[in-house]
Symmetry: C2
Subunit: 220 residues, 2 copies
Amino acid sequence: MRYSPSKENYLKTIFHLQEEEGVVTTNALARALDTSPASVTDMLKKLKTQKLLLYEKYKGFKLSLEGRKVALQIIRKHRLWEVFLVEKLRFGWEEVHEIAEELEHISSKKLVDHLDKFLDFPTTDPHGDPIPDANGKIPLIKQISLRDLPINIIAAVCNISDQSPEMLELLTHKGIGLGTKLEIKKKFSFDNSLELNIRNHQPITISENVARNVFVTHEE
Amino acid sequence: MRYSPSKENYLKTIFHLQEEEGVVTTNALARALDTSPASVTDMLKKLKTQKLLLYEKYKGFKLSLEGRKVALQIIRKHRLWEVFLVEKLRFGWEEVHEIAEELEHISSKKLVDHLDKFLDFPTTDPHGDPIPDANGKIPLIKQISLRDLPINIIAAVCNISDQSPEMLELLTHKGIGLGTKLEIKKKFSFDNSLELNIRNHQPITISENVARNVFVTHEE
DNA sequence: TTAAGTTTTTAGATTTGTCTAAATTTAAAT
DNA sequence: ATTTAAATTTAGACAAATCTAAAAACTTAA
């Protein structure tokens, strides 16, 4: 079955909201898609008749098994294209999202699988997010504090618990943001400070207090 | 300016018909796009108001300078993606057209230019058709008889003048069709027969009589 | 040169995805 | 337990791209 780019975007966004929030609401989805709640309701009805969504009006909704499958394929395409753009076409990791938003709607299954092979079956995208395999299985990634990250494991920043301007100023200065890929090279037991490597940068040092507030994901 | 995939397809198809036929008619365009003449008229009006088309009703039409520019960018994208699919993702040259029909509508200009560089600035696609450069300039290609093709020059079959079943049977057997990329490796002056290389195949031999009826294009 | 035939255009409808404004249902607060 | 507020859905409309059927304009051939 083939779905319109618009429907694919709905499925994908519902999937992401489900992951984060557990429950998805009409308003949250409208906000995420930058559209009106009325439009969302319209689309939900269509997705329901196509059995992509479990939905009763006023009662909330979530993806059906089929809807989840479709969403994961879109996410797979999005992330593989991002890898391609960064690794092969030498884009910066911050500029690939927008382009991948278009590429993810190219339908050919064979294209995606050839691309996957061409890229040598990557398991994470340039932001550190896991790439579902051809069957929609996502490599298990768990979110841990940077303080607990083992040495020499590449991980991606996925959350910053202390969002104060002071913390953000510090992180911006060090070159750390959401999605930054990094690796601990040394832990100093004297004060539990860490020395990190970040893609294409000089090693940097951060305190335990900072590390505690930075959460990262990494492959199992 | 950004145009819908549908408009881009109209512009591209008008361009191709202009090249082949000189004049484009509503019916011919409808046939080429597999749509109704009425739909074509509707779209022509829209393209005219956007100044992409010179068009007076009942008086025929052709692309404006701007329309031509847009068409050439689409064709550029189409052909570059075809090169990518064949050279990098190892698709067969006969299966890439359909996928490139989708990829050609991805909008990012930067993407196309990076892709061009990644592919090392190819001048023809896997079918032997010339690829417009970033300014929309097409490398000059002239059509010549295979008999007159110099040795060791890669060329693409673009026309077969004798379309008899006997000729086609022979060519099919040898693995030659429209778009086949080939190269003469040896000319025998005894009978003017030719030894050819075709992508991924064993060398083959054809008679002068066959060569005379096969037309090829190659870069200048 | 006028009647017949072909091509092109108009008229009116349909589908998809969207909108605003208004109504309805659920949730919260007194 | 009402009232008020918030979230959600309906109603009605619109733009893009398409369709069919019918009208209008061009072409051609007797």
